[in-house]
């Protein structure tokens, strides 16, 4: 009898002692809404304020305070839903999620439970050149909690409520992801979409985008295994590590005859392990009920249509357009649309110029250099106009590709107009055949022995080209030099 294992659906299976395993991942991403004021109060959301400076009596949950919703937070959630090609619910309900923690003064978080503002949608991701659609389960609006600081005092914790009440979008995916790479690609793409929309800045270092990763393992084709939730994994790199480490842990337990407990775990990047957060377990009975302080959130189709009309071009559409309009390869187009500023920069360079050359310069020269120096494109020392100027000088034959790179270095470190630099520093490529002929004649006259040799060995022409280029200070058009040399030496 043969053991029939379902054919692997992809190359993501993890080998174990009892055969291959499939990892199943779902993500819950908390994205801080871009807004000036909080979700239910008029206090500021700005990062880095003095302790409790951005706190109103509502955020501190003083008795008698009532929440009033911020219309911009609602609009941002709808925009995000539209960007995720999701169903927008014209009516949604705010609920209270009850638990006690010192940084949650209300004793409950205002969230949305059964009727969220946004329903099912999808995100297109790409891993190793293969596209995949990942389902979105829902998006709901909720309040952020405050922050507890434990290192200020040996016996006490310090609580700052500046974040308390800031609007979050919790974006829940379906369990459609099958590898660490897919999980990383999902969060990366989601962050790109949020940044394009301007609904969340996606800054993971500041905690403005936080991911909880649900991981389970199963034999291919088997029913879903028991999952563990890994909390607050705060970088794309850690998401990949946490998935790999947690999948391995679960496989080892099952293969040793154990079973997985459904629990919340914490990823420790230093130790490269996940560990149980047992203290959170008991609190899992949240006793949701509709918040009696808030009426249902309702809006019209017209309101949604108005927001849809004002949406910017999103990365998938932009990529398709770059490929069609500028003839770019899929990979280059993906690199350029990964950030909105990058795409804008490229478009400024490509305007009225050859798209492929522009893409080449932006990706290979500019992005390569920015990366090396740790700069963002927003604070690039070289502007799109300057890169465009260099591309123009290559296109009209004023400088060679090699000199263009030298020119880029000058513009990078000293600034200035590329055309002017070429003019004042005499970097112009010499295409004047008369001048090149003079140089060629001089080299031939000075090296009669080599002239004899090249007749027997035509590949020696390279030496002559080198001599002429040297004599011209690198400015002679190499192709013209080659042709003139061949004619004068009687080769071919």
């Amino acid at each position: 009898m043969h053991d029939k294992v379902a054919a692997p659906s992809n190359g993501n299976l993890i080998p174990g002692a009892t055969g291959d395993w499939e990892v199943v991942i779902g993500m819950e991403v908390h994205a801080q809404v871009n807004s000036r004021a909080k979700l239910f109060s008029g206090a500021a959301t700005a990062f880095g304020a003095e302790p409790n400076a951005h706190v109103s009596l509502v955020d501190a949950a003083m008795p008698g305070m009532l929440p009033v919703i911020n219309e911009e937070c609602v609009a941002q959630a709808v925009r995000t839903g539209l960007g995720l090609k999701a169903q927008i619910n014209l009516k949604s309900i705010f609920d209270r999620k009850n638990y006690f923690y010192p940084d949650l003064p209300q004793g409950y978080q205002i969230s949305q439970y059964k009727q969220p503002i946004v329903g099912e949608g999808e995100i297109e991701i790409e891993v190793d050149g293969t596209a995949k659609t990942v389902g979105i389960e829902r998006l709901h609006l909720e309040q952020d909690a405050g922050k507890s600081i434990h290192d200020q005092h040996p016996e006490y914790s310090y609580v700052d409520l500046n974040r308390s009440g800031v609007a979050l979008m919790e974006i829940v995916s379906k369990p459609d992801l099958r590898s660490a790479k897919e999980a990383q690609a999902y969060v990366t793409k989601l962050r790109t979409i949020l940044r394009y929309l301007g609904t969340c800045d996606g800054d993971m270092e500041k905690g403005n985008l936080r991911a909880d990763v649900n991981v389970s393992v199963r034999k291919p084709g088997a029913p879903l295994g028991t999952r563990c939730e890994i909390k607050n994994v705060n970088s794309i790199r850690f998401i990949g590590q946490a998935v790999d480490v947690e999948a391995r842990r679960q496989i080892d337990i099952i293969e040793d005859g154990g079973k997985i407990d459904q629990e919340t775990r914490l990823f420790d990047p230093g130790k490269g392990e996940t560990r149980s957060m047992r203290s959170k377990e008991e609190a899992h009975d949240y006793r949701y009920f509709p918040d009696p302080d808030l009426l249902p959130l309702e809006f019209t189709e017209d309101y949604v249509a108005h927001l849809r009309h004002d949406l910017p071009e999103l990365p998938d559409e932009k990529k398709a357009r770059f490929m069609a309009e500028y003839g770019l390869a899929s990979y280059d187009a993906s690199v350029l649309v990964a950030e909105r500023e990058r795409a804008d920069y490229f478009q400024a360079v490509a305007k009225g110029r050859d798209g492929k050359t522009a893409a080449n310069w932006v990706i290979n020269e500019l992005l390569g250099r920015l990366n090396k120096e740790g700069h963002d494109i927003a604070d690039s020392p070289v502007s799109a106009d300057q890169v465009g100027g260099i591309v123009d000088l290559i296109a009209n034959g004023t400088i060679s590709g090699k000199l263009a790179k030298d020119l880029f270095e000058i513009v990078w470190s000293e600034g200035g107009d590329p055309a002017e630099i070429v003019e004042t520093r005499g970097m112009k490529q010499v295409t004047d055949t008369g001048a090149i002929e003079t140089a060629v004649d001089a080299v031939i006259a000075a090296n009669p022995d080599k002239v004899e040799q090249v007749k027997a060995k035509p590949s020696m022409i390279g030496w002559f080209v080198g001599q002429v280029m040297k004599a011209s200070g690198g400015k002679a058009n190499p192709q013209a030099v080659n042709e003139i040399l061949k004619a004068k030496l009687g080769l071919e």
Binding site: G42, A43, P51, A53, S157, Y158, D160, L295
Partner: protein, 95 residues
């Protein structure tokens, strides 16, 4: 529907309400009575009825995205049993 003592204690703990053994006994009967009454209400067929969220025709009030509040940290922590440098200070809570 009968609420046993363990459930009473669990609910009390979730609500952070301290109860004595005697109170727990009394609450068993009280909570069971409330739930029985709810069971009775559930006999009414409400499938076609929207949950009532308001008694007057009013929509959810919304606010413009303008900063109108805050910058009063001293007031915020004024009633706190303990505060330091405008932080609330609470017994240590560590994961």
């Amino acid at each position: 529907m009968h609420v046993d003592e363990a459930t009473v204690r669990r609910i009390a703990r979730l609500a952070r309400i301290k109860i004595t053994d005697e109170e727990a006994k009394g609450l068993e009967a009280e909570l069971s009575g409330i739930l029985d009454w709810v069971e009775q209400l559930k006999q009414v067929d409400t499938d076609a009825v929207e949950p009532m969220t308001r008694v007057v025709g009013q929509d959810l009030k919304q606010r413009a995205d303008v900063v109108t509040d805050g910058e009063k940290a001293a007031e915020i922590v004024a009633n706190a049993p303990m505060a330091d440098d405008n932080f609330f200070v609470v017994p240590k809570v560590v994961e």
